[in-house]
């Protein structure tokens, strides 16, 4: 099995004759026998996925790394976090995906209003299945648990990804509106309820 290990701002992908998908152009070095080929505009998800991604503006250019050896992946000196998925779904903006192992499907989900508030388009990318996914963030990622009776509110600009069964809603309470009245500020924040984990970065986009 291919194994992903985060080493601060670099991702180690150890391949044993299998393959991982990674953001095109993110390879900085490799050891061993590894082949790189473009996974196509659907990121290998087929034509329907490709069309959905184009419509949603969540197009991600992926490459497939196959062979034996270690591939070093990095992007923009961003911090790397590896998330283990067990029959779970990771919801993440396409630009934060660095790599994921076989066994994880890559698709686009329409996110509704949340995409609008963060200026990220109306959709987000879904990585689901069993395996590992590596995501990047500006500054070290902070993982915050969401559980019943323990809702979490985050700044849409700091939100990066989420796993589990969470419901997201926009908070724009009276107090928030009074902020807008005083100029600038953040008119909305995201409220998560349910069961899962939310990943945020310390730098707002």
């Amino acid at each position: 099995m291919a194994r992903l290990t985060a080493e601060k701002k670099v991702l180690h992908a150890d391949l044993e004759g299998d393959s991982v998908k990674a953001a095109a152009g993110s390879m900085v070095a490799y050891q061993g026998n590894v082949e790189f080929k473009n996974a196509g505009m659907g990121g290998g998800g087929g034509l329907r996925a490709a069309v959905r991604q184009r419509v949603a503006g969540e197009a991600v250019n992926l490459m497939e790394c196959t062979g034996h050896g270690r591939v070093y992946l990095a992007q923009d000196a961003f911090d790397v976090t590896v998330v283990d998925l067990q029959q779970d779904t990771l919801t993440v903006e396409s630009e934060h995906i660095l790599a994921f192992t076989k066994g994880i499907q890559h698709d686009v989900q329409f996110a509704g209003l949340r995409g609008m508030t963060s200026g990220q388009g109306l959709a987000t990318t879904k990585l689901s299945g069993t395996g590992q996914a590596a995501i990047i963030s500006d500054g070290p990622m902070i993982a915050l648990a969401v559980a019943p009776g323990m809702p979490l509110v985050v700044d849409p600009d700091a939100y990066v990804a989420g796993t589990g069964q969470t419901q997201m809603s926009l908070v724009s309470g009276v107090s928030w509106r009074s902020l807008v009245g005083e100029g600038g500020g953040e008119p909305f924040s995201l409220r998560f309820e349910g069961q899962g984990t939310v990943y945020i970065q310390p730098a707002e986009r």
């Binding site: 559980a147 979490l152 509110v153 700044d155 700091a158 902020l179 009245g181 953040e186």
Partner: protein, 248 residues
């Protein structure tokens, strides 16, 4: 996999990492607008002016009218996570002291502290006892006077009297023309420094990204009241020329 925090495991008034800080809120904190990146619990954010209409003590604590638009009061119970564009965040404890800091770098402070505008434009002074959070571009360096600081890298100072401006002697002596140019606002190098004397501590950051401080313009604008109409007009022309030059 990173540690997964919940409201109980988040640090109590401590850093989560270099770039994020967790406040254990039980009551009120002043926070700068946009500093909140996440929170658990029941926390209300209201504009300083709106909150002041319900709680008279706010006006006494927050005596910086130019900055009220940029600040909110976070009130309630819970864990509040503070971040600032990926800059380093440090917490400081003041004990019956005073500390002056660059306004854009101040992120949050307890209401037991009093906020005032510094005489140096773009800086604010905190007086009293309590905790506050400030960001810096890179780790903070603490220095003792006598010391001369590059204004761009200066983060703040504690206990010292206000700094005076110091112009490099060689720079002044070498060329009288250069002196004239300086008066016309064409200085561009390191000839201008802040000079600190007396007892205290100076806070420096290791690098500086230029940040827009919306209040700074209002401060400078209010100081133009010192000029008579002719001088103000002449200044206006120079500023227009500068804006046009930087647009090219």
């Amino acid at each position: 996999m990173p540690t997964i925090y919940d409201p109980n495991s988040l640090p109590v008034d401590d850093n989560i990492n270099h770039y994020a800080f967790s406040i254990d809120l039980n009551g009120e904190w002043f926070t700068s607008k946009g500093a909140m990146i996440a929170y658990y619990g029941n926390i209300d954010f209201s504009g300083v002016a709106a909150f002041a209409s319900r709680a008279a003590w706010v006006a006494a604590r927050f005596s910086s009218p130019l900055y009220t638009q940029d600040w909110v009061v976070a009130a309630g119970q819970g864990k509040l996570v503070i971040g600032d564009r990926g800059n380093d965040i440090n917490s400081y404890d003041l004990e019956d002291g005073n500390l002056t800091i660059k306004a854009v770098n101040l992120l949050a402070f307890q209401p037991s502290l009093e906020l005032k505008q510094s005489i140096v434009p773009g800086f604010v002074t905190l007086i009293g006892t309590g905790k506050f959070l400030a960001s810096s571009n890179g780790p903070v360096i603490f220095v003792e006077p006598p010391f001369r600081a590059d204004p761009d890298a200066l983060l703040g100072w504690a206990d010292c009297p206000s700094p005076s401006q110091h112009y490099d002697y060689n720079w002044m002596a070498q060329s009288f023309m250069a002196g004239i140019q300086g008066m016309f606002g064409r200085e561009s190098g390191e000839e201008r420094q802040y000079d600190f004397t007396g007892a205290g501590t100076i806070l420096m950051q290791s690098s500086e990204m230029l940040r827009v401080d919306s209040a700074l313009m209002r401060i400078v604008e209010s100081q133009t009241n010192l000029l008579d109409a002719n001088s103000a007009g002449a200044l206006g022309h120079k500023l227009i020329a500068r804006a046009q030059q930087s647009n090219m």
